[in-house]
Symmetry: C2
């Protein structure tokens, strides 16, 4: 196995489960936002769903190793309310990751000297901070019955860094070039 | 909550977690199959990832209810070997769902008279049987260093029914019309 320590491995598995479910519910909530007349909030959900896919894929590749099954325990948000409620679920999930989950996972990876996990958790933590802010902005708009104003959303395919309207020359988190960003 | 019974609710949450992780790993394994020179096996992974998204989305919508967090425990497969190994992970996961998980979940939903969950578990169970067979066929090819032969893969967007080369006039599982099938 690419990871030597059981605790870091367990946290990678849990983070993989959490990111996979976040990816999935953002796609579901995007469909609901579209139907409710918020195409830009739908676009934001779809773009951030891709960022969560980047995180899940990174964790999966750090776990690496032989083909084997595992039981995964992870947090997720549920609910099929209005978009303003779904955005609250998104904010709650992101804030849990920013304030509790990823700081502890990152601290553990550093403590256990697991370099791959450290990078994967760091990438996710930095993106989730931005996701929490963007979902709060979207919710402020939805509360007033308005869509969020944006042209495109750009996602770094290496670390999930997320930015509105224009990609930076270099990703501030992982350093990848502007041309690599995926546009939504 | 749309589901009255705690056990059926727990099984829906677990199935949602399992399907979300299956969706995610099939996308990862698709990228690996593409790199290994198996574009049709990659296409099969991508199409079946969409079927798992349909299942996850169905379970999520049966859970429905208010915005709230939950801790989810679910099975998943891991591994970053060659495509022939990744397909073994896919087969193991699908067979667990076909032989153990979904029959018990479906039986419980019937026992607890949870109609929405019964339909959602039934749809998934029927699709997973086909997935297990298709992944076995793909693995037989990969073992000989060959790609699987197929033109397109068709997925029913309502139940996840999966079929190669041509969609049926009506979905044999949920009855949806041919035109609704998503082509990969
Ligand atoms: Fe994430
Ligand atoms: Fe996020
Ligand atoms: Fe980046
Ligand atoms: Fe499924
Ligand atoms: Fe399946
Ligand atoms: Fe169907």
């Amino acid at each position: 196995m690419a990871v030597k320590n059981a605790m870091t491995s367990e946290f990678l598995h849990s983070a993989y489960g959490g990111e996979s479910m976040a990816h999935m519910r953002y796609l579901t909530w995007a469909t609901m936002a579209e139907k409710e007349g918020f195409p830009n909030i739908a676009k934001l959900f779809i773009a951030i769903a891709y960022a969560e896919q980047v995180h899940a894929n990174n964790h999966f590749n750090v776990i690496a190793g032989e083909t084997q099954g595992a039981t995964v325990t992870a947090g997720a948000e549920f609910g099929t309310g209005k978009t303003v409620d779904n955005l609250q679920g998104a904010i709650d999930g992101e804030l849990h990751e920013v304030e509790q989950m990823y700081p502890v996972y990152l601290n553990t990876a550093q403590f256990q000297e697991e370099k791959g996990a450290e990078r994967s958790f760091h990438y996710a933590l930095e993106a989730e901070k931005i996701h929490a802010d963007l979902f709060k902005k979207a919710q402020d708009c939805a509360r007033e019955g308005k869509d969020i104003e944006l042209t495109n959303v750009y996602i770094c395919p290496i670390c999930g860094h997320t930015i509105l309207d224009e990609a930076p020359d270099k990703c501030p988190v992982c350093g990848v070039k502007k041309e690599m960003y995926k546009e939504f």
